[in-house]
């Protein structure tokens, strides 16, 4: 078990050794976002911009325009939220080669409370043209996603978490932008999940198997562009979809899947996520339970949707 932000810190430092054009920026949170690992190894290529996210985004765009590959980090709420328009204008509109790695996404920020828990970032980043949006499930996938982002020319938003998460993928797992991954086969319904909810879906699928229900699990580590082929196959072959994400049900993975399927292949659906409300203080584990972001909810929703099938 490793936090995706820790995997990021490692991967960025590795990449920094391989490619001298990689630079990193942070807004006074380098210890938390783990860009500090890079900063220690490559101090000249690290820019602490202070608590000024808007300027950090613009600075990264400028660095990109002279050939650098900037990775900028802060908490998701400040990256996607505070600096949304800078990301739109200075990064996405010119298709600048800037990588926005936002840590502390979702409610598992925990004790800091609702002010710091970003449950809207996937939606607002996904709405911007030219933007690629990645939400890895675990440490291994994070390393792959960071490498894929560095290799891709253009803006990428990568959402990571604060806490240690269960391993879903084996070491060396290859990440491809635009591709999802079926992590468990099944025929009665499909869990389409992202981030830490994929591990929960695997637990739920295993338990449902014992009750004679065959649940497929499709992990979407790349929300945009969406792996339409994989989603369509799941809809056609299982006829029922339960999405799950540590994010609002408005506009995130559930929104993306619903938008796509409602036009291509209307399918019974249920979205598991945060229902149009802010987060609150508490321990990460307590909050996941409080918001129903766990295997138990997925099991309940699977049974409910099968009744409607």
């Amino acid at each position: 078990m490793i936090a995706t932000r820790d995997a990021y810190g490692e991967a960025l430092a590795e990449l920094g050794a391989e490619n001298e054009n990689i630079v990193a920026l942070d807004a006074d949170l380098s210890g938390s976002t783990k860009t500090g690992v890079f900063a220690k190894k490559f101090p000249a290529r690290f820019f602490n911009m202070g608590i000024a996210e808007a300027n950090m985004v613009g600075t990264a765009a400028g660095l990109a325009s002279v050939g650098k590959i900037p990775f900028l980090s802060t908490f998701a709420i400040f990256a996607a939220g505070r600096a949304w328009e800078q990301i739109r204008q200075s990064v996405a509109y010119p298709k600048a080669n800037v990588k926005i790695v936002a840590t502390h996404g979702g409610v598992t920020v925990g004790e800091d409370g609702g002010s710091h828990q970003s449950v809207e970032d996937i939606a607002i980043m996904r709405a911007i043209p030219n933007m690629t949006v990645l939400v890895p499930a675990d440490g291994e996938e994070t390393k792959g996603a960071i490498r894929a982002a560095a290799a891709y020319k253009g803006p990428v938003y990568i959402r990571l978490g604060r806490n240690k998460v269960a391993n879903v993928f084996p070491a060396g797992h290859k990440f491809e932008i635009g591709k999802g991954c079926q992590v468990a086969d099944g025929s009665d319904l499909t869990f389409i999940t992202t981030g830490l909810m994929t591990a929960q879906a695997l637990i739920a699928a295993e338990k449902l198997k014992g009750e004679g229900i065959s649940a497929r699990v499709v992990h979407i580590g790349c929300i945009k562009p969406l792996d339409k082929e994989l989603v369509l196959a799941a809809a056609r072959e299982t006829g029922a979809i339960v999405t799950a994400e540590e994010h609002s049900v408005v506009g995130g993975l559930g929104g993306a899947v619903a938008e796509f399927l409602s036009e291509e292949c209307p399918t019974l659906m249920k979205r598991v996520g945060v229902y149009d409300r802010f987060g609150t203080s508490g321990k990460a584990e307590e909050l996941l339970k409080y918001f129903g972001l766990n295997a138990e909810t997925l099991i309940d929703e699977a049974k409910e949707i099968l009744k409607r099938k």
């Binding site: 820019f47 000024a52 808007a54 300027n55 613009g58 765009a61 325009s65 002279v66 204008q89 509109y93």
Partner: protein
């Protein structure tokens, strides 16, 4: 040098004519702020900056960021005059399918390096470029033109703080202080004075000039380059709509273009018609 100044003054007059004709044709765009900034844009492109219109992506070029992106006509007529694209393209300004967007767009226009227009963001990008050049030990310089109204944006001061912190002496900001913004006088809408004191307080080298005096513009640009250890802000007192009395010092001409009746008089002011 005196000859150079006369040459640049004549170039600036011709660019003003091009701005007026372009905006008359497009019937959409920003007249006042284009005319106030053009002497500085002219001095940069025809004297100070190293660049190559035949090779827009030349690695050794200095960079220009029009942070007050609504003055795009000033940039476009200058780029056309340099030869980055045919002058005929100017007649397509703001039209569907044209590479000359309402505000500068690096994706389509040769010679434009960044997208600007949403105010307050250009200085951050310019400083990012400056930091990149420093990192690579390159001599390229970065110039950004800002509006005085634009200084009301908080991000400008985040960028000002960062540029001084990182000692970006390869960065020069030119403030086109024409004293007017859409809703009226800058001093009345939201006073930004003293601009010079503010930049000084943020750790910048500050030079105050008349932004229409070519000799002062050139010597300020040289002084900026000579200054090591700090970025330079050239605070240029300008006249919105400069060169055409119909438009001068009128906030109402911020986003209004010359109409058919005004065109002959405007061109006459600029020495084009008898």
């Amino acid at each position: 040098m005196k000859e150079k100044i006369v040459e640049l003054q004549e170039k600036a007059r011709r660019l003003r004519v091009a701005i007026v004709k372009t905006l008359h044709k497009s019937q959409s765009g920003h007249t006042g702020g284009s005319l106030s900034a053009i002497d500085m844009v002219c001095a940069l492109y025809f004297h100070k900056m190293r660049h190559n219109p035949q090779e827009p992506a030349w690695d050794g070029r200095d960079r220009f960021v029009l942070s007050k992106g609504h003055a795009a006509p000033a940039l476009y007529v200058t780029l056309a005059e340099c030869g980055y694209f045919p002058s005929e393209d100017l007649m397509m300004l703001r039209r569907l399918g044209s590479h000359l967007q309402g505000h500068p767009d690096s994706k389509g226009t040769p010679g434009v390096d960044v997208c600007t227009g949403s105010l307050g963001q250009g200085l951050s990008m310019a400083n990012g470029m400056a930091l990149g050049f420093k990192l690579d030990g390159k001599e390229n310089r970065v110039y950004a033109i800002l509006g005085d109204g634009e200084l009301q944006e908080g991000q400008i001061w985040e960028a000002a703080m960062a540029a001084a912190h990182y000692k970006s002496d390869n960065l020069c900001a030119l403030i086109d202080a024409n004293r007017l913004q859409i809703d009226g006088e800058v001093a009345k809408v939201m006073n930004v004075a003293s601009i010079a004191d503010k930049f000084r307080a943020f750790g910048w080298n500050v030079i105050e000039i008349d932004g229409h005096d070519m000799a002062q513009i050139l010597s300020a640009l040289d002084a900026a380059e000579a200054r090591k250890g700090a970025p330079t802000a050239i605070v240029a007192a300008t006249v919105k709509g400069k060169g055409v009395h119909l438009f001068e010092n009128k906030a109402s001409y911020h986003g209004v273009t010359p109409n058919d009746d005004e065109l002959p008089e405007a061109l006459r002011c600029l020495g084009e018609l008898d």
